[in-house]
């Protein structure tokens, strides 16, 4: 294999082998990953694959149970549940993923600086983190959502804020550990400036636990958003969103229209479960020790 000096060449090829090995070693994670991939595909293709428009009302078919062509039934306005659930996948995946990504970025950046520099910066940051963590995440989210309004952007920001402290603390702890290692000292002695030490040497070695945490947190972010919507603080009707749909459906439980509550709830469950279960697989992919195994 001719190497042109670039170790990150042909990432796709190097991912193929691990993928098959992963399937054998972590079958559960592999299934979860496939499910997630499916959900993402659904979300992306939603406008083209939904049988009905998610906002198409039809009073004549209102509150119908699962039948043909409404496989998941219809709601009180005659909207097709299946279409709404498929369409809601866009929001219900985009928001958690976006907020997790933002939180990861911010948490890593601040955590790295705080951990490496130490001193007053570290102290300041940690006290701020302590303050934020004093609030239960949900309560914090509720408060922020009430303050910032319930547009999509604000939701992303709100959920991101609740996650930042976790990544910050994790990254800081990892940096504190890694900077004592001899390879970090070696990075200094060969003449690296601090930014290279942080980005090229420490970050790659410190980030795996955060990535694994992020997969779990994404599931929790989804739950947070669904809860906020359930409580009326998140996505407002008539937009489709699993949490909001569950809230509507909860209202109809008494009259027996179970499909309005169960299917959105199941969608949330499947998505969250899948996020939780891919953690093992992600950890293995990121371990260089696994790459070399033939």
């Amino acid at each position: 294999m001719a190497d042109m000096g670039s170790p990150d060449g042909s990432l796709a090829r190097r991912m193929a082998f691990p993928a098959l090995r992963l399937a054998r070693r972590n079958p559960v994670s592999f299934v979860a990953a496939v499910v997630l991939l499916l959900l993402v595909v659904i979300a992306v293709l939603a406008p083209w694959i939904v049988p009905f428009g998610p906002d198409d009302t039809d009073p004549t078919t209102a509150l119908a149970g699962p039948c043909w062509p409404h496989l998941f039934g219809t709601d009180i306005y005659g909207r097709d549940e299946l279409s709404r659930i498929l369409y809601a996948a866009r929001v219900d995946l985009a928001v958690p993923l976006a907020s997790t990504a933002i939180a990861l970025l911010i948490g890593c950046a601040i955590g790295m600086l705080a951990g490496y520099r130490g001193g007053w910066l570290d102290m300041l940051v940690m006290r701020a983190v302590d303050a934020v963590l004093a609030f239960p995440a949900l309560v914090l989210a509720m408060g922020l959502a009430a303050a910032l309004g319930n547009g999509l952007g604000s939701l992303i920001v709100v959920i991101a804020i609740t996650q930042v402290p976790t990544y910050l603390r994790l990254m800081r702890a990892e940096i504190l550990r890694a900077r004592e290692m001899e390879y970090a000292e070696a990075a200094v002695t060969i003449g690296n400036p601090v930014r290279r030490i942080l980005l090229l040497h420490l970050l790659p070695n410190c980030i795996p636990p955060l990535i694994v945490q992020a997969t779990l947190a994404t599931g929790f972010a989804l739950l947070t958003m669904a809860t906020l919507s359930f409580l009326g603080l998140g996505i407002q009707p008539p937009a489709s969103e699993w949490g909001e749909m569950t809230a509507e459906g909860a209202g109809q439980m008494v009259t027996g229209e179970w499909w309005l509550f169960v299917f959105p709830g199941l969608a949330i469950m499947v998505a969250v479960l899948s996020f939780n279960l891919i953690g093992d697989a992600v950890r293995d992919i990121l371990d260089p020790r696994m790459r070399g195994v033939r």
Binding site: Y183, P204, N205
Partner: protein, 317 residues
């Protein structure tokens, strides 16, 4: 001949705080001076707690000394801006004791060895590639190992990779911190011979820090003996090993096992064990253990040149 490395009265103190009590100061290095000429090997020996590793780290500027100066080719490192200090690092490199921990687990050997070139040289990609291959060959690592990760290498190979990284940018001085201690006995002599060959080929100077006295003697022209943060004796390797004068050096040399059963060990014994480095002693640090101690030993210790180039810090010698 101007010295390549000059260390002058270097000291490093670590304050240790105690819960609810008075703090102590650990005087890890307490006034060390030495010079190393270009192309020479200087051995630094001592037992655990003597401060030799801390001294190495102060010289490499991994930690900041509390006092004293380190000059490389006449330039005081403390006076350099951070950017200039980084540039200076091309000249002074280090090989670490724990060869596994010193390698970034996520970098291939090639990338690791390439890094000093990226930082300090103006080579283009092809030139870097050539230099890397040349260096890997020099240290005895086949180029087929270049794309391996550290966990795929054996102990001896890892140490060779460390050495390759240290010499790739053609430094003038390499600080070797216990380079062979973690290696199996059969590998040690190979690494020692490799180091010697590299020194000749590349005109390197070495600061060889180790507690393996026989190996230090093999490679070094000059040797300094450290005890509790100070140099107690300094001289040519021949003099220090063959004619040690300081009581601590004598005790140390008499304890080194010799693979010859007819030479019975003639132990020069010091009482007790190495005390906590934190106990501040005004006079000689060997007080309390030395069989030759007298009342004068509680006063500051003079450094005497008892023969050309042979210095001893002792009242009684």
């Amino acid at each position: 001949m101007s010295a390549l490395l000059e260390v002058e009265d270097l000291a490093k103190y670590f304050p240790m705080k105690r819960l609810g009590g008075a703090g102590r100061i650990v005087r890890a290095v307490d006034g060390v001076s030495l010079t190393i000429g270009a192309g020479k090997t200087f051995g630094l020996i001592g037992e655990s707690g003597c401060g030799k590793s801390t001294l190495g780290r102060c010289i490499m500027r991994v930690i900041e000394p509390s006092r004293g100066a380190v000059r490389v080719e006449g330039v005081d490192l403390a006076a350099l801006s951070p950017a200039n200090l980084r540039a200076m690092r091309r000249q002074v490199q280090m090989v670490f004791q724990d060869s596994t921990a010193a390698l970034n687990p996520r970098m291939t050997v090639r990338r690791m060895v390439e890094e000093p070139l990226l930082l300090h040289s103006t080579f283009d990609r092809a030139e870097r590639r050539d230099r890397i291959e040349h260096v890997l060959e020099q240290v005895g690592l086949g180029t087929d190992l270049a794309d391996r990760y550290p966990h795929e290498l054996s102990g001896g190979q890892k140490q060779r990779a460390n050495i390759a990284r240290a010499i790739v940018a053609r430094p003038r001085l390499v600080v070797l911190d216990e380079p062979t201690s973690a290696l199996d006995v059969s590998l040690r002599s190979r690494i020692v011979l490799l180091l010697e060959r590299l020194r000749e080929e590349l005109d390197l100077a070495y600061l060889f820090i180790s507690h393996d006295i026989a190996t230090v003697k093999y490679l070094s022209e000059r040797i300094a003996v450290m005890y509790l943060g100070v140099i107690v004796e300094q001289g040519s390797a021949r003099e220090i090993i063959g004619n040690p004068r300081h009581p601590y050096t004598r005790a140390l040399m008499s304890a080194v096992p010799i693979p010859d059963p007819d030479i019975r060990p003639n132990r020069f014994v010091l009482r007790g064990e190495v005390p906590d480095a934190a106990i501040t002693v005004r006079g000689c640090r060997l007080l309390g253990r030395c069989p030759m101690a007298a009342s004068v030993c509680t006063e500051a210790v003079p450094v005497r040149e008892i023969s050309p180039g042979h210095f001893v810090a002792c009242h009684m010698v």
